[in-house]
């Protein structure tokens, strides 16, 4: 008899995708459920800060693009919940975990969207950081997750360009608009680079995930890559990133950057960010308010079914 664990590890090593019906270690399954559902929740909760500006978008074109973007995020949430369901957990169970606070979502969505420029900063920085994290996931060892990520990444890079274009337009605009854009970058920069998670030596799940090829690069590697990219792009906007220590280091061939405020990071992760309560309350309320609708749809489907059976 072949050892199932050996078959599993051989596949991972050979870059053959693990599929839902394959044997997999319990911890692999749990890690994926945690990561994919967390990712799905982030898409769904992440709709809220941007939905906040749909009714106030400044032009019809921007309004339409923003609705389409938020709608894409709902779609991403759907693919990801479906990918997670292949690991034997239901969407309802995952939603319960979100609403009870047991499951996390990306902390970035616990920051407020205060001006229109935030729609630009979220696209450029938040989606930019998300893409940096997600592109390697297209090669994740778990097939359904990898395939969902391929679709998601295509749309995310479109969102990132749109966000940058919002900022670019503001940066070429009036003095008030330039200030609005700079203020948004000042507020979103540090939370965005925190999106890559704790430093490598403080990241509890990383080593095992790298071995299983769920993760391909470390948090710090991805963060550095992101900072290097943004430090260049911000010049096009003729705006600045709020970090006095940001400086090109020729020896390292990377930008050096200032100390991240990890106290703030853990504070937001642990529920004490500026909008944690509001975001979760909004999701819970929408779900609760929708309960009678879901019940009605189920009841009607049941009636139809039984009428069809009687007729047959």
């Amino acid at each position: 008899m072949l050892d199932p664990e050996k078959i599993f590890l051989d596949k991972v090593y050979e870059e053959i995708k693990i599929e839902p019906k394959d044997w997999m270690p319990d911890q692999y399954r749990k890690t994926l459920i945690r990561q994919i559902s967390q990712h799905a929740h982030s898409e769904i909760v992440g709709m809220l800060p941007e939905a906040n500006w749909i009714t106030r978008a400044p032009t019809l074109r921007r309004k339409a693009t923003l609705i389409a973007k938020v709608q894409d995020e709902a779609g991403h949430g759907l693919y990801l919940y479906s990918a997670a369901e292949t690991l034997n957990i239901t969407r309802d169970e995952m939603l319960d975990q979100l609403h009870s606070g047991k499951a996390k979502y990306s902390s970035i969505f616990n920051y407020p969207t205060l001006t229109w420029a935030d729609m630009g900063a979220i696209g450029w920085l938040v989606d930019g950081a998300a893409i940096m994290n997600q592109v390697p996931l297209c090669r994740c060892s778990y097939g359904p997750y990898a395939r969902a990520m391929i679709r998601i990444c295509k749309e995310e890079s479109f969102h990132q360009r749109q966000g940058f274009e919002i900022l670019l337009t503001l940066s070429k605009g009036t003095e008030a608009q330039r200030k609005m854009a700079q203020d948004a970058i000042d507020r979103w920069w540090w939370p965005s680079i925190m999106m890559f998670g704790p430093n490598d030596d403080a990241s509890p799940h990383s080593a095992q995930s790298m071995a299983w090829k769920i993760k391909r690069f470390s948090n710090d590697e991805l963060r550095q890559k992101f900072i290097d990219m943004c430090a260049e792009q911000v010049k096009i906007l003729r705006l600045t990133l709020p970090d006095e220590k940001l400086k090109w280091n020729e020896k390292r061939n990377h930008f050096d950057f200032g100390e991240i405020n990890w106290k703030e990071f853990w504070n937001v992760v642990n529920g004490n960010g500026p909008c944690n309560k509001e975001r979760l309350a909004a999701r819970t309320k929408a779900h609760k308010d929708g309960a009678w609708v879901r019940e009605a749809a189920a009841a009607h489907a049941e009636k139809r079914k039984s009428r069809a059976q009687k007729a047959a």
């Binding site: 769904i44 709709m47 809220l48 941007e50 939905a51 749909i54 009714t55 106030r56 978008a57 400044p58 032009t59 019809l60 074109r61 921007r62 309004k63 339409a64 609705i67 389409a68 938020v70 709608q71 709902a74 779609g75 949430g77 759907l78 919940y81 229109w116 337009t169 503001l170 070429k172 605009g173 009036t174 008030a176 608009q177 909004a282 929408a286 308010d289 929708g290 309960a291 009678w292 609708v293 879901r294 019940e295 009605a296 749809a297 009841a299 009607h300 009636k303």
Partner: protein
């Protein structure tokens, strides 16, 4: 020309205001699939509004030196100059009210665009033809939901009846032609809305029957507001206050 412009703006305002209302649901739908669906309808309607506004802007630009765009039309007019019917500006309420508002309006738009496709104004005909494909889906989707809620649970049935009670009074306006609609119909570029009523009623009758809902009684005074002439309910002012805030606060800016 004034009538043709007003007629086009009226078609645009209807689509924009309902699209705006529907987009208030984005992120808050009862289930992800339906959040996507209602956002999609919002997008379609805003797209229709843009087509009509852009056409109206070219008509206006021919007779004025002021630059007019889709955005000056949407963002720089006050409530009394908006020519949408009052049905579309009504608040979302619960899912039942949103669904019923969509059903009443999509059924109306469905028959309207069917006729408008034959407009002797090529531009209006083309927009109607393109939009009709979208509206056909909106009508199917909202009809299915009216049936689901009517024939679902006791609670959903009660809620949709409350919605009928709230919205029925706003449907009379749809079929009472105002000045620019009469001119549009007479000149062959617009539709005689009074002729749409029997098809619309038949559709409502069919769907309500399947939904096990009693048909509302037609009353003498089935017109509460007359938005098409700028006589709006209180709601429109708030929609515009929110929608136009950036354009008003930072005038003459590019976004």
């Amino acid at each position: 020309m004034k009538e043709r412009i007003n007629y086009t703006i009226h078609l645009a305002d209807n689509a924009l205001i309902l699209g705006h209302r529907n987009s208030e649901w984005t992120g808050f739908g009862p289930i992800i699939e339906q959040d996507i669906a209602i956002s999609n309808i919002a997008l379609d309607l805003i797209g229709q509004a843009r087509n009509f506004y852009q056409y109206a802007a070219t008509l206006i630009s021919n007779s004025t030196a002021e630059p007019v765009t889709e955005d000056t039309l949407a963002y720089l007019r006050d409530a009394k100059d908006f020519l949408n019917c009052s049905l579309v500006e009504q608040t979302n309420g619960d899912w039942a009210k949103t669904i019923l508002r969509q059903f009443f309006f999509s059924a109306y738009q469905f028959y309207l665009y069917q006729h408008l496709q034959n407009s002797n104004d090529e531009k209006l005909a083309a927009i109607a033809e393109k939009s009709l494909k979208e509206v056909t889906y909106h009508l199917r989707w909202s009809s299915e939901w009216v049936i689901r809620l009517g024939d679902g649970t006791e609670e959903s049935n009660k809620r949709i009846l409350t919605a009928v009670d709230d919205l029925w009074i706003c449907t009379g306006e749809l079929f009472e032609a105002t000045g620019f609609e009469q001119t549009a119909a007479n000149k062959g570029y617009g539709v005689d809305v009074s002729l749409l009523k029997s098809d619309w009623m038949q559709k409502v009758r069919d769907i309500f029957e399947e939904a096990t809902l009693p048909l509302p009684v037609e009353t003498e005074s089935q017109v509460k507001w007359f938005g098409k002439e700028g006589k709006h309910s209180e709601h429109l002012g708030y929609i515009l206050a929110e929608m136009q805030f950036l354009q008003r606060t930072y005038p003459n800016s590019e976004w």
